[in-house]
Symmetry: C2
Subunit: 313 residues, 2 copies
């Protein structure tokens, strides 16, 4: 008999956690852009519909990055034109630059995200820009988006370590985050792009961000599970009062075998913990695991999520 059939996990609260957490589901964007397979638009549409039906309220749908860089998401316009938006669900879209913003506005998008770096090395490699040039690129994007009434999230990558630079000073992350918030972004998603963080560092970085004037209510966390640390780090962030957590259904974007196991925290593993802790998410774990098992079949390989493998393997 399975654990869920006998009422597990048992609920037991602990002090100092929020009552409710918003899961920012990135599977359709951050997940699929890192899968080698290009998924047909019909499958993406069904995936998003199923995620909404499982109770997820924020579904990052796609990206307007140039198709040359991310062919997996080259169907962004087509996807958004055919998407049935579920009541009460937000469908933010990643926008790298002004050209991307034009496309997003033409597609009727109301919620965008920009994607910056905390380090010079990653800004150079990912955007071919310095940190100052990255800010100069985002400034008009955020200003125009805000003038059009759009909500803008700011991702910051490499907040907890960089594979070229090593440790990243928390004050540097805070300075980058503050600059993006001053432009008019409403939320800062602190990314552990290479999955190296541990819980004390999570506290240091969020503390530095707070000290730079960005309150915890504006902070989201985005952990990758490369070294198995994503859920412990999330727990540390929740204890500080963070209430928005990024994750990817089924751990999409991470290969379960290879060296490049750089996937996002799996939404199911997060929901298992939050269910056990009595923290509300609105997510139906069984429906979600069904969806991820279905998507794993489409991708032709097992899900990297331990919960999905245990419940549906």
């Amino acid at each position: 008999m399975g654990a869920r059939e006998v009422g597990l996990p048992a609920r037991a609260r602990t002090d100092g956690l929020p009552e409710r957490v918003t899961i920012w589901e990135v599977g359709a964007r951050d997940g699929l852009q890192n899968e080698s397979a290009v998924v047909p638009v019909e499958v993406k549409l069904e995936f998003l519909d199923r995620l909404a039906a499982a109770g997820l309220g924020v579904l990052e749908a796609t990206s307007f990055v140039h198709p040359k860089w991310v062919p997996q998401l080259a169907d962004a316009e087509d996807l958004l034109a055919r998407l049935t938006r579920a009541e009460g669900v937000s469908y933010p879209v990643l926008v790298p630059n002004e050209r991307g913003l034009d496309r997003a506005l033409a597609a009727g998008v109301r919620h965008i995200a920009v994607f910056g770096s905390a380090t010079e090395s990653f800004a150079k490699r990912n955007l071919n820009r310095t940190l100052d040039e990255q800010f100069a690129m985002f400034e008009p994007v955020v200003a125009r988006a805000r003038a059009e009434g759009l909500d803008v999230r700011a991702y910051v990558s490499m907040c907890f370590g960089d594979q070229w630079e090593g440790p990243v000073p928390p004050a540097q992350v805070a300075a980058v985050g503050r600059r993006l918030m001053e432009m008019g972004c409403s939320q800062l998603s602190l990314g552990d792009t290479i999955g190296v963080a541990t819980p004390g560092l999570v506290e240091s970085v969020i503390g530095a961000v707070n000290a730079a004037g960005v309150p915890t209510s504006r902070v989201a966390v985005h952990f990758h599970d490369t070294y198995g640390q994503a859920l412990s780090n999330t727990l540390a962030a929740l204890r500080l009062g963070v209430t928005t957590v990024d994750s990817s259904a089924g751990g999409l974007g991470g290969c379960p075998y290879a060296e490049s196991a750089t996937g996002n925290l799996a939404t199911e593993d997060l929901v298992w913990m939050l269910d056990g802790l009595g923290v509300e998410t609105g997510v139906d774990l069984d429906k979600l695991a069904d969806t991820s098992a279905w998507m794993a079949e489409r991708l032709g390989r097992p899900s990297p999520s331990r919960v999905v493998r245990a419940l549906r393997g």
Copy 2:
């Protein structure tokens, strides 16, 4: 470039954690007994030597359970006769009953562990006994071992949920634990055999065990990673003052793909977190990951440890 080469994870302490944690390495026993392959004794001996060289101070070496039940460990006498005991390293052995104790004493073992259940259902299925009969079986084992000057650890399985009974009342776990400690066991290892626990429940169970008279200094935790929760649960236990954590090198005992991903917490994933938190373990993570990569080759399949896959995949 790899994360380790640029000094990651960065160290950042957090309040309320112990300065030092003892890792009780169970890979050679709990790990290998759950692998389908039977590993030759020479490989086990090299494995134990390499684990000691990587700085692990407690190596659960094997089990004197009847070979009919665990053919993987049928070579227990041979292994112990040929084992070179490293200076300062303890090599405890699992002993299920009086016959097992006879074998352990004959082999010169100085440190044993008994393996009990917190629930009637698992006692019935694993030992074919009621809880009362389990205590009656252990009583003479512990008494004789103590009379011979041996140290005895008590494992309690299904402390956080049972796949037949569902939730397990913390007071029941505490009553079982207290009874085993009253017999003369020196340490209680609280096992999440099916991997369902979440951090609030960890606090509840340890609190109940404390209330029953067993201090945290006598408590160890033994989490399985079936649902990806093992490391978060460990963090919760460390915050309560637990200083002994069971884990398995490379996550041995868990299949990285299948439904039965019921492996132990991987020692590498634990050490990554503790290194980042500045908690001393004495373990050299790179040597340990080399050892687990080597053992994964012997087993002919990738390691379930995310750290091993990321560093050596």
